[in-house]
Amino acid sequence: MKNKLFEKYFVLSPYFWLVLFFFIPLAIIFKISISVSEWGMPPYQDIFLFDNGFKINTTFENYVYIFSDYYYIGSFVNSLILALISTFFCLLIGFPLAFYIATSNIKLRNILLVLVVIPFWSSFLLRVYAWKIILQNNGILNVILLNLGITSEPLQLLYNQYAVIMGIVYTYLPLMILPLYGYLNKFDLNLIEASKDLGLNRIKTFFKVILPLSVPGIVAGSLLVFIPVVGEFIIPEMLGGSDRLYYGKILWEEFFVNRNWPGASALAFSGIIILVLPIVIFQILYSRWSQKNEI
């Protein structure tokens, strides 16, 4: 009897917290996103009106407004492209690194792993700031380029989309390396030897053996990079210029500058539906599936 009470307490306390402070806020975003906007405070009408009998006062205009304006769609597409490119570069740099760390001897492996994680533990904002210093017109990179005679005058390296990609790849790289390492670490190195013995050359071994076995790690790492990058606000704000607008920026401005709460909520909720929901559903199905298959 006592066990039951205990279990209830364990399950229900966090349940209560998350419903109250996570689920209800998401529901409120949805509610405001289908509210009629108006001038005032708060800048939207209630969705239930009681003045002349009960009336439901909702609209999908905020969504229509967003999805018919290139300003919003374009920014979202920009963010998706940015996330794709950044994920690709994280993978390009992260995969060899994770692979070679995983194939090192155990002592070196642990040291390398700590070395990869330490920057990740340090402040995100300050790591972005570091690139602001490096990419300045009189920054260290320009000084090197000038001294090597590659350019004759300082290049404008900051405040454009390339600086943004640079900053993102730098700050998110550990998020790609860690899950990759987790999977690569598990697999049997003898497989590589075996494939070589069977006559496959290096390139074939890579594509036929190593790559297929690391797919789960690649997927996990790519998701960890891709999703937050789509909603990234700080890096484009600090390193980016006005050449590209991104989802995070327009969401921020829609709320804080335009004070269009229903519009901002519709943007946020669309983001959840398009980006987050498919992944969450996949995760739940996957965890249920793997649980069933183990028990």
């Binding site: 966090p14 996570f22 990869v116 920057p119 570091a130 300045q136 700080i234």
Partner: protein, 264 residues
Amino acid sequence: MKSSLIKSTVIFLGLFFLYFPILVLIFYSFNENKRVMVWKGFSLRWYNELLNNEQIIEAFIISIKIAALSATFATILGVMIGYSLVRIRKIPFKSFYIFLSSTPLVLPELILGLSMLLFFISLNNVIGFPSSRGQLTIFISHVTFCIAFVAIIIQARLTDFNKNIEEAAMDLGYNYTKVLYKITLPIILPSIIAGWLLAFTISLDDLVVASFTTGPGANTLPIVVFSKVRLGLSPEVNALSAILMFSLIIIGLFYFYFNKKFKH
């Protein structure tokens, strides 16, 4: 021979890429000049100015306070979730439970921040609380999104360890509560500490959610730093970086120490 050369080169370049910007940041923190990028000479001037900058010191204290409190709450709730998901079979609406406890991991901070702010405003309209936003609202938001990170660490740990130990203790006459406090919690203690440290650094580092849920008298360190470097450079922030990097590295090493300990 050739492949080991490639290997060393890749590892060296990778680590260089990860550490070069941090080293540059720390290097320029010793620059005497007010213009960050123009080297004038070695000096500790900016460390001195930083320690006399009341705005930054105050923000730092607020951040530490919020981070410690929210990490503690998130750890308690996160341990409960991790334990429930692995050990308790009957969870009402289990998929919903998993949804609630894992979505904050993948939800962009911006959306989370917006939803929290609109929630607090709506709550205030309905019950008159919280009348203004500040440290309390940041604390609540941070707990909410740190829970998931703790839960995932605890869940992984509990899945790993042998349930038979718990069952043996039960057979020997321990009751449910006693098993939990005498067996389960001590075994997962290193993961609990690791979870707390992770939650602490996440909260300490958060800018986006805090920007949404902040109010008068609740400027956290990242908010102050962001306002200083959004448009330009600040030598004080360089000095701050050097100090913060150093302390976070120590926390990171602690985390690894505990993490490694529980793996053995």
